[in-house]
């Protein structure tokens, strides 16, 4: 099958190739792409060598194959012959038909040539006729042209002669515009021919009429009662009549001014939004109208016409700017006065909306007058108003803070300090938040002025963050410090509990609230710190300092209250002639009670704090050391007259090795430290007072009893009980030293008395 098919293909190919050869078609391009055709055995190739092919066949093929090959070859030759015959026949037919066509064409062309000759003859005849006609019509045409020229001239003349009458009529009908238009048309001609008497007359007449007209226009203009449209028409006409533009500008503006002068004066009973609304509707819109018509008249219009050369636009522009500035300044002063009346901080949105509207309306002026300073001034007003508002909020916050302090002060009687503290700090925080929310309105997206650079940058950082939030925090710290200072001289005008409360408040501010508030602010206002701002750490340090100061002051005040009791009790008693002690003096019980209540109070707000490790049973064990061994030894030494220096030596050596006690030193933020401070102050006072007195035997014993009592109860409050022991030791030692007859009481007796209470 395959061989027969390939044979068929081969045959087709060969047929075409041969036909091509026959017609001399150059197939070289293709032949080059078929290198196989170089094969001398390829029967279709150009290099076919029959000898080789035959040899090859003979060599390679069997007889049967040769037979096949031969029949195949014969078949091919036969078909090729028949193909050739067909082709020859076809070509012959085509040739015959081509010859026929050529013959037919020859006949057609012959006919066409004749027709063309005829056409050219006709054309020549037409040309001749046409020349003849134009020759005859020449004269008449010239005449008609002349006549029509005369007609136009006459019409013009008629117009001129009729002009005065027409102008008069226009004047009567108040059709000023038409009159001016007519006059303008005639003016040049009249000017040109004014040397002719008749034209001169017409011109004079016209002038007179036009003067009258101008007069009337001016009158109308001056009267001012007419609408803005009429007015502008007047101005337009006058301009066309060569009136001096400057004067017109002035007059126009003065008219406009008289109309705009009726700016609404601020009446305080209308709210600010309404006021601004009215101001915008009445003033700003009519101002815009004036600007538009003015520009239309004097600037845009003049630029088109011949007036442009006279520098009128510049002049007019200058006048307009001055005019707008003047008016705007007056309007702004009104607005500003009104804004300043806006003191209440209750509803900020109204003000913001009013300002927004104000600012938005002024944008119209910007569009009309690109170079004007008015919008900038408007923005400045808005900025000033905003800053003013921030200030008001600050003072409102401050007064709120002071008010809440007053409330707290009144509520101090109840022993619910933590609740008071949390409610105070929560209410302050809420107030700050609401103020921030109010202020935030200034930077809301839909407010036109919020995308001004001021409101994006400086307002947020300097305005809100610095002068509102930071100032408030500083104010809190400062007012707290003032509590310390004012109270210091007058002796505790501030209740101690308030000091404690405020101290805790400041401390809370330091630890969390300040950074919270500032973060909140920064987030809400997206503060970008272009200018240096107060860092959180500074504020925290300030708050901490205030807290420290308050707590120190609290310690001092409480310490002084107890000191005062102790001092009075020591100073007013006759210690030489006192009776043998039977019980602890009431004042000591009072001291312990007060200390306990202070401890409770402080414990409500401050953490316990660290204290040095207690010995297992502090009061008992240390007490025995305190009075039996050390104290007794000291007394024993002081009784022997032979060694008066021993007392001094002993206590001095003791002092050298003990830490120096700073009495009014700073305390830490915990209960124990606070209590230690208070007790230190009290005991030091006790000591100093004792040193100023002289004691009898029983006086010393009473002091012993009192000190033991204090010892029993005070150790638990302080961080280092040794401190109490040491100071009480000192007191007993000093009183022994100031004693005329130092005979100390038996330790057991002291204990019995103290336990009896």
């Amino acid at each position: 099958m395959t061989s027969s098919y390939s044979l068929f293909l081969f045959k087709r190919h060969r047929v075409h190739g041969m036909l091509k050869l026959y017609y001399g078609l150059n197939e070289e391009g293709k032949a080059e792409e078929q290198p196989e055709s170089l094969d001398p055995c390829d029967i279709n190739g150009p290099h076919f060598d029959p000898e080789l092919f035959l040899n090859k066949l003979r060599r390679e093929c069997s007889l049967a194959e040769l037979m096949d090959q031969e029949t195949c070859m014969v078949k091919q030759i036969r078909s090729l012959d028949s193909d050739m015959q067909t082709l020859v026949y076809e070509n012959y037919n085509k040739f015959i038909s081509a010859t026929d066509t050529i013959r037919k064409m020859k006949n057609d062309f012959k006919k066409m040539e004749d027709e063309m000759d005829c056409l050219s003859a006709n054309m020549a005849a037409i040309t001749e006729f046409s020349a003849r006609i134009s020759g005859t019509l020449q004269d008449q045409h010239a005449q008609i042209t002349k006549l029509s020229g005369v007609h136009t001239l006459l019409r013009k003349l008629q117009f001129l002669f009729e002009l005065p009458a027409r102008l008069n009529k226009c004047l009567e009908l108040q059709a000023y515009a038409q009159a001016v238009r007519s006059h303008r048309r005639a003016r040049c001609v009249l000017q040109q021919y004014s040397h002719l008497p008749s034209f001169k007359g017409i011109q004079d007449d016209c002038h007179a009429i036009m003067d009258k007209l101008a007069q009337e226009l001016r009158q109308k203009f001056r009267d001012g009662g007419s609408s803005a449209k009429d007015l502008s028409e007047c101005v337009e006409l006058l301009l066309q009549l060569d009136e001096p533009a400057e004067e017109l500008c002035d007059k126009f503006l003065s008219h406009a001014q008289s109309r705009l002068d009726t700016i609404p004066s601020p009446t305080s009973n209308t709210d600010i939004l309404e006021f601004i609304d009215r101001g915008c509707n009445e003033f700003v819109s009519s101002l815009c109208l004036v600007i538009t018509s003015y520009q239309e008249l004097f600037i845009n219009h003049a630029q088109k016409g011949e007036l442009a050369s006279k520098n009128i636009p510049q002049m007019a522009n200058g006048k307009l700017n001055a005019f707008v500035d003047d008016l705007a300044a007056r309007y702004f002063s009104l607005v500003e006065r009104r804004i300043q009346e806006e003191k209440g901080v209750a509803d900020n949105s109204l003000l913001v909306r009013a300002l927004d509207r104000f600012h938005r309306r002024l944008q119209a002026v910007t569009k009309l007058l690109p170079g004007s300073a008015v919008p900038n001034q408007g923005t400045e007003i808005v900025i000033r108003a905003a800053t003013e508002r921030v200030k008001q909020y600050l003072s409102a916050l401050q007064s709120f803070y002071m008010d809440s302090l007053t409330d707290v002060r009144q509520a101090l009687a109840t022993p619910r300090l933590p609740e008071l503290l949390s409610s105070l700090s929560a209410s302050i925080l809420n107030q700050i938040k609401s103020v921030l929310a109010s202020v935030h309105l200034f930077t809301a997206k839909d407010i036109t002025f919020s995308n001004k650079p001021y409101f994006k940058g400086e307002f947020c950082s300097q305005g809100v963050r610095e002068s509102l939030v930071v100032s408030f925090i500083k104010f809190v710290c400062q007012s707290s410090r003032q509590f310390c200072e004012s109270a210091g001289d007058k002796g505790g005008s501030t209740p101690p509990a308030l000091l404690l409360l405020l101290s805790r408040l400041c401390l809370d501010y330091e630890t969390s609230t300040i950074s919270y508030i500032l973060t909140l602010t920064d987030e809400q206002f997206l503060v970008q710190h272009h200018s240096p701002v107060t860092p959180v750490t500074t504020l925290c340090a300030e708050a901490r300092e205030a807290a420290q100061k308050l707590l120190n002051h609290y310690v001092k005040v409480q310490g002084l209250i107890i000191s005062q009791m102790l001092r009075k009790s020591v100073e007013t008693r006759d210690w030489v002639n006192t009776i043998e002690p039977r019980n602890v003096r009431a004042v000591m019980k009072r001291v312990v009670e007060d200390t306990t209540s202070i401890d409770v109070q402080v414990g409500l707000l401050y953490e316990e704090g660290v204290r040095k490790a207690h010995s297992s049973d502090s009061s008992k064990r240390t007490f025995s050391v305190y009075s039996s061994s050390r104290q007794q030894a000291r007394y024993a030494a002081s009784y022997t007259p032979s060694a008066p220096m021993d007392t001094n030596l002993l206590s001095n050596i003791h002092k050298l090795f003990s830490e120096r006690i700073d009495i009014f030193s700073s305390v830490e933020f915990n209960k124990v430290s606070v209590m230690t401070g208070i007790i230190k102050i009290s005991l030091k006072t006790f000591l100093e007072c004792v040193r100023l007195r002289t004691f009898g035997r029983y006086g010393l014993q009473q002091i012993q009893v009192d000190c033991h009592y204090l010892q029993m109860y005070l150790w638990r409050f302080v961080s280092d009980e040794n401190l109490v022991h040491f100071m009480l030791d000192e007191i007993v030692g000093s009183s022994a030293h100031r004693c005329l007859d130092p005979a100390p009481m038996e330790q057991s007796v002291i204990e019995v008395i103290c336990e009896r209470g």
Binding site: G491, P644, F664
Partner: protein, 347 residues
């Protein structure tokens, strides 16, 4: 004493009274009065030799009682006053008296200082500054720069002006002023102003400071609540007549212009406990020394309110002197067991 070691002088007893002997012009001399209930009290006369940086001492016996306040006559260097507590029959009485030192203490001491220590001589009593109506003298003030004839004693709520006659052996009360008010008022301390012809006196009671005119014995000004608590001491600026320094239990030192008593001119809060004593330096009034029971002595340089507004004296030397004082005080404090010292004069 710029680079010298601090000079320490130890006393056997506690002492609360110290003064500079103003009539002595040649030497730097202090008088210290001791407090002891059980032994005879002494007056130590301490000479400071600033060339050799050593101290010479003499001891005189003051047998009347423990000394709470001492004052040296501005005219006669042998005369002094003391306020003392006398205990008799289990009662404690505060008295004041004028004394004369024995005439030969100086010569004796120079020959054998050890002897004088062992056998101290006794003060000679000139007169008592007490009468039956007024006792409990808190302090006695000599007329500054006077001839040693006039003293003021503050007793309870009275200020008594005494004239000393016949070589101070006789004292008569020439005039008195009484502090009137609610409760038991009591003068705690006072100072005789060296200005205005020595006609003014400033006193302290509780938290108030009062000024008196000695010619009429009437009050001329009053600083209520000058300190938060008790006012402990006063001193007049030696060069500026209206300026007054005060100190008290509120740990503060305040400077007042007595023409305007509403606000202090300046307030210092350096000490951490009661300030017992305040003194101006006599020639450089920007230097103010304060002593406190926080065991510290502070020398402050108050150029802004001194009579020399632009302190040309302020240099390292002054500061180091302050430190020296400090040291000395700390150490002497330890030696003397809580002695309160008034450095009245330190030149």
């Amino acid at each position: 004493m710029e680079d010298d070691a601090p000079v320490i002088y130890g006393l056997e007893f506690q002492a609360r009274a110290l003064t500079a002997q103003t009539a002595e012009t040649d030497a730097i001399r202090f008088l210290v009065g001791t407090q002891s209930l059980k032994f005879d009290n002494q007056i130590h006369i301490i000479d400071f030799d600033d060339e050799n940086n050593i101290i010479n001492k003499n001891v005189l016996l003051h047998q009347a009682g423990e000394i709470w306040h001492i004052g040296a006559s501005p005219a006669d260097k042998a005369v002094l006053t003391t306020c003392y507590n006398k205990t008799s029959d289990s009662r404690v009485v505060s008295c004041a008296a004028v004394w004369r030192m024995p005439s030969d203490w100086e010569t004796g001491s120079h020959e054998s200082p050890d002897d004088s220590a062992h056998n101290p001589q006794t003060l000679e009593l000139l007169c008592h500054l007490d009468d039956s109506a007024h006792s409990n003298a808190a302090c006695v003030l000599w007329e500054p720069m006077g001839d040693g004839k006039r003293v003021i004693s503050l007793a309870d709520n009275h200020a008594l002006l005494w004239d000393l006659q016949e070589s101070s052996t006789q004292a008569t009360v020439s005039s008195t002023a009484t502090l009137e008010g609610k409760g038991q008022l009591k003068f705690t301390s006072g100072k005789w102003s060296p200005h205005h012809n020595c006609s003014q006196l400033a006193t302290a009671n509780d938290t108030a400071i009062r000024g008196w005119d000695l010619r009429t014995m009437s009050q001329i000004y009053c600083i209520e609540n000058a300190h938060g608590q008790l006012v402990r001491d006063l001193d007049f600026n030696p060069n500026r007549q209206y300026y007054l320094a005060s100190c008290g239990d509120d740990c503060k030192v305040k400077f007042w212009d007595v023409r305007n008593v509403q606000e202090p001119v300046k307030s210092l809060e350096e000490h951490s406990h009661w300030v017992w004593s305040v003194r101006y330096n006599h020639s450089h009034d920007q230097l103010v020394l304060t002593a406190s029971s926080d065991s510290r002595l502070i020398l402050s340089n108050m150029v802004s309110i001194s009579s020399e507004p632009f302190g040309h004296l302020v240099d390292d030397e002054e500061l180091s002197e302050g430190e020296d004082n400090h040291q000395e005080d700390n150490q002497s404090n330890k030696k003397k067991k809580k002695v309160l010292i008034n450095y009245s004069s330190f030149e």
